[in-house]
């Protein structure tokens, strides 16, 4: 099964990954090849088989909502690429 260039560009858009034209072509080749090999999964009879999301049997693990010390703001902002006072500085979301 061959992915089209448009499909590859669409996937990249969903994942917010910028790709060069060369990368679109290269990933198109590689992903198509990989997915073709994985089509074997369709051979497996999974009628009435539930999906497994987790290998452990824990359910509804919760914690009491207690206020406790968190990290100081200065540490949280220490790795910020752009900051402004107590804020992470971001680009305009709405034009």
């Amino acid at each position: 099964m061959k992915l089209s260039r448009e499909e590859v560009q669409h996937i990249a858009l969903l994942a917010r990954l910028g790709l060069t034209e060369t990368e679109v072509d290269r990933f198109r080749e590689q992903l198509s090849n990989i997915l073709e090999n994985f089509e074997v999964l369709q051979q497996v009879d999974t009628k009435d088989i539930p999906p497994t999301a987790q290998s452990i049997t824990l359910q509804n693990v919760t914690k009491d909502d207690e206020v406790a010390a968190s990290l100081p703001q200065s540490q949280i902002l220490a790795n910020a690429p752009r900051k402004d006072r107590d804020f992470f500085r971001v680009r305009a979301v709405l034009e």
């Binding site: 590859v8 999964l41 088989i49 999906p51 305009a92």
Partner: protein
Amino acid sequence: MILNQLTIHEAHRLLKTKQLSSVELTKASLERIQQVEPKVHALVTITDELALRQAEKADELIATGDTHPLTGIPVVIKDNMCTKGTRTTCSSRMLENFVPPYDATVVEKLNDCGAVIIGKANMDEFAMGSSTENSALFATHNPWDLSRVPGGSSGGSATAVATDETTYALGSDTGGSIRQPAGFCSVTGLKPTYGRVSRYGLVAFASSLDQIGPLTRDVTDCALVLNAIAGYDTRDATSVPYPTPDYTQCLTTDLNGLRLGVPKEYFVKGMQAEVETAIRTAINKLEELGARVEWEVSLPHTPYALAAYYIIAPSEAMANLARYDGVKYGFSYRETDNMWEALEKTRQYGFGAEVKRRIMLGTYALSAGYYDAWYLKAQKVRTLIRQEFDQAFDKFDALVTPTSPTVPFKIGEKVDDPLQMYLSDVCTLPINIAGLPAISIPAGFADGLPIGMQIIGKPFSEETLLKIAYAYQQATDWHKRRPNI
């Protein structure tokens, strides 16, 4: 006695009886690092100042008689586990200058024991790879043959132990990333049962598959490290609230009554002949030690595990890597005022090719119109794979397989063919899918290149795995061989 070649248990005895100091041991390891690093490039960061400070503190602890088996002993931490104040890169440009403001739970636990953190290990970027060639920083070279890969993604950790740069290391395993490099570097590597060790502070790749585990010189050391890092953590909702046994208590040499199964699907077509011979010889040895072996056990869904894994893991990865957006930390593309362009270019330049490939695979598998056919299907196949293992463990205490179908391959050999690279994990992936524990131990060599044997157990049966591995190591000396470097 070469100090940096000591095992944890040997070093502990000498430290406790004051025949050795942690500072001496740490200095010996740092010297060894200087000597060997130019050849193997196992470490992203050498934390020499931190290590010497911790060594001095450890010596003070030891002087008061307060010693844990790991006190004062050098450890290398794979660079995807957060170490407060020390950069943690995941071998990616995206996190090249990221300095975590907190320690991972496992790092906290080791620090509480008085450990000495000597360095952060190179890896495949974001743990995606089987050779450490996907590191955005540099490749690590196998100490047994510098033209070959050390395996991945914990290649740096395995190499650091194999070259005696460190006494032990921590790695992480999502599809084989502790076991396969352990096999390729001839060290002991354990992936605990999913949920046994806290993932808090481990940079997430695939949240239902990731586990942290030890890489060590021998099984006793492996048990000692597991004792220290295992256990319930309220900060990891997938960590299990089960008590942690003392894993050193199970180490005996009597395997009588143990039932071992050998699943034939793991002896794949195209497997290297010498590897098959070595593993069969090793299993015969386990029989000599008292175990009852049934050959030709069948786990018929094994061939589908690769496809299931490479749909599930990338799907979880694309969700986990969505956070790298250049806003809160990490690489951030600057040459634009447009938010979308900044986001896309940050991820374009911050991530390497394999990471992008997997993000795209996962995005595709989860997208509208494809979710049922791919992701949901893979999750159902996952159920079948787990059920098959559960049935096998009704009859067997453990399953034994090769860790890898081949000896370490040459650097550059598979890096341009993603599918070929994925196939090198064919023996290890199914274990992560099922959430089981498994250990890889040295089981021989072919032309001087290491061969690893994998022992797989049912959930929370690490004691059984350690017992079998220990008995094997008492009766063989593969694990005592050192690379000529």
